[in-house]
Every structure is written in structure tokens, then in C-alpha cells.
Symmetry: none
Subunit: 200 residues, 2 copies
């Protein structure tokens, strides 16, 4: 990939920022305006970026700028499904649960057990530093040890809680004093918490 000039780097940077802010690419004129240059000036820069392989454009289409993501790196990465609402009585990996996939560093998945991800809702685990909106990476498992944080299916709901086995019942413990522990004899463990990811 050919070297970019300082100006061209600025333009490419602008496209990145614009895409981050708007999630669609800028027009030629918006690019021109951002740098207070003429339309053709910006147009030529875009063509230069395309010639050097940093972007792709489509003829005669507005905002038709595609970033050619440089191969960057081929890290060991695993794609795991991010599940939305999990309904009781249905397989976890049913299509209806599927929201999208997330990439996670492969090194946290030690064994070959399937993993999935969940959006955390609510503040019941703030004591463990898990906030609403965090993405929880879960190792699928039917069992857990005392004190593990697990995803458990409880009648109609799915919760993330700390898990304990007591005499003849299970205890699901929130990490928030405002939530009382849940005692039950009937629960299904869906998996164990392996990681937390949060984006600011």
C-alpha cells in the first residue's frame, strides 16, 4: 500500500471520524467543507485515496465511500453469538435469540466449550463491577461451583448472579445489597461468566 501524504492522511482521518459519528460516509462536498477547500479539491483527494488503495468508491453514487480496512492483523479471534432475550423452554441458540456476533480475543477461551455473550441488564451485580449495558462473555455449562457467577434460567427469566449450593436448595446471590438472594430448587444453569467487556 502506497504512502499517503500528510494532507491525505488528514482526509482519511476525517472519513473515519465522520463514519464514527454518523455511521454513514460523508459526501464530497461535506469533505470539502470540513477542510474549507473546493469541491474538486476534496474530490481529487478521495480519488487519490482510492488510487492508493485506502478507500473504494462507486461511480455516481452519493456517499459511496468504503473504507478498505487494511488487513491490520490476524489475531487469534473467535466470533461468538451475542444473544438477546432468552426465552424459557427454548434452546439457547435458537435463531430468535440471536442478536449479532462479537469478536473476542481467543486467548480467554481456553478449552473448546461453546461460548456466547449477553447484554447485562440491571444493576444487580454492581458490587462485582458489572454494570448495565456491559457485555458478558459466558462459557456454556450445565454446572457451576460455589461462588461462580453464572447465567441461570429461573422459570421465566434469565439472570446473572453468584451461585451457591446449600443443603437442599440453590442460592442465587446478587452483588447489590438492595437485592435479596433468590432461593430455589428448580433452576437451570446456562453458563459461567468468563469475561466482561464494556465500551465508553
Amino acid at each position: 500500500m502506497k504512502e499517503l501524504t500528510a494532507r491525505q492522511k488528514e482526509i482519511l482521518n476525517f472519513i473515519h471520524e465522520y463514519l464514527h459519528d454518523n455511521s454513514y460516509p460523508p459526501t464530497v462536498r461535506e469533505t470539502a467543507r470540513a477542510f474549507s477547500i473546493s469541491v474538486k479539491g476534496a474530490y481529487d483527494h478521495l480519488k487519490a485515496l482510492e488510487r492508493k488503495g485506502y478507500i473504494k468508491t462507486s461511480e455516481k453514487r452519493s456517499r459511496a465511500i468504503e473504507l478498505v480496512t487494511p488487513p491490520e492483523s490476524d489475531m487469534p479471534v473467535v466470533q461468538i453469538p451475542l444473544l438477546g432475550e432468552i426465552a424459557a423452554g427454548r434452546p439457547i441458540f435458537a435463531d430468535e435469540n440471536f442478536e449479532r456476533t462479537v469478536a473476542i480475543p481467543a486467548d480467554i477461551i481456553t478449552n473448546r466449550v461453546p461460548h456466547f455473550a449477553l447484554h447485562v441488564k440491571g444493576d444487580s451485580m454492581i458490587g462485582a463491577g458489572i454494570l448495565s449495558g456491559d457485555i458478558a462473555i459466558i462459557e456454556q455449562s450445565e454446572t457451576a461451583k460455589n461462588g461462580d457467577i453464572v447465567v441461570a434460567l429461573l422459570e421465566e427469566t434469565v439472570t446473572l448472579k453468584r451461585f451457591f449450593i446449600e443443603n437442599n436448595r440453590y442460592r442465587l446471590q446478587a452483588e447489590n445489597p438492595h437485592y435479596a438472594p433468590i432461593y430455589t430448587q428448580d433452576l437451570r444453569i446456562l453458563g459461567k461468566l468468563r469475561g466482561i467487556y464494556r465500551s465508553y
Copy 2:
């Protein structure tokens, strides 16, 4: 989020597919053509999707469709350096600081601004759900806005704190009632917190 009709789901699906293929959103007319309906027909569908909260549009701009929950099925990953002890008065990226690299989802790195990662030490930010041992992903930056969580260099130490500008001093605020805010006029911001990653 309100329920979509079957037709509206088709339209939303088309936008997803189009974005996956082109990495920029379709125009109203392209949407109309894809379903062999009139322009206004497609336009009304888009407005319905916006009304129900599934997309966002900007007035009078071509292709200005933003997905409210983006699909992004193949999230690329980049490698950033994980820094250990940062010494005052030395460049951040000096070899002696380098611990290893970590892979993080590339979509949190918007522009070409360098990022790095740090091991969080101590419990001063537990109120923000940041625990000792977490990996903090930092966007390198010399400046920050009020309320940002920043990595700041303070005489001999590096800390992660919430940052505020006051009359003629800076305030570094922990998210833990046991820690008093730090007031100073002399500080250097190393970067802004962009993500948190924790492994169990």
C-alpha cells in the same frame, strides 16, 4: 421498542444486507427499487422504522440511515500494547513499559489515534464498575472533557480518575467515597478511557 410489521422487517433486513454488501446505507430510491414499489412507499417505510426506533435518519441528506442496533457481524480486531508501570518523565511507549499486546475489537478504535491498555490497580474506581486487575483500554490524548475518565500523570504516579476542570485547577475524582478528590494545577493527561475488559 414497538413491534414491526412483516413488511417493515423485510425493509429493515434489506438495509442490513445492503450495509453488509456496500458498507454504506441505501438511498430511498434504491430501497424502493429493491422491492419494486414506489419511492414514497419506501420513504414511508423508512419513516415508520424511524418512528419505531429501529433506525435514525437525518433530514435532507442522502443515504443518511443509521441503524440503532448495528449488525456488524464480523468485528475486526486490533492489537494494542499493554503497558506496565509507567514512569514519569519518560515516553509512554518506551520499551521498558511494554508488557505484552492485547487484542481488542477494532470498532472501539474510531480513528487512527493510538491506543494502549493498562492494568488497573486499586479500588479507587469501583463506583464506576472498574475493579483492580481489569484491563483499561485508553485512547491516547492530551486533552479531555469534564467528566471523562482519564489516565493522568501526576508528579511521580499514574492514575485513572474522573477528570474535571475547575476555576484555576484540575480535579481528579475517584469513584469511591474513601478517596478524597485530588486538586492540582500541574498534571498531564495521557489518555481517555475507551473500554474495560475483565477476565474471570
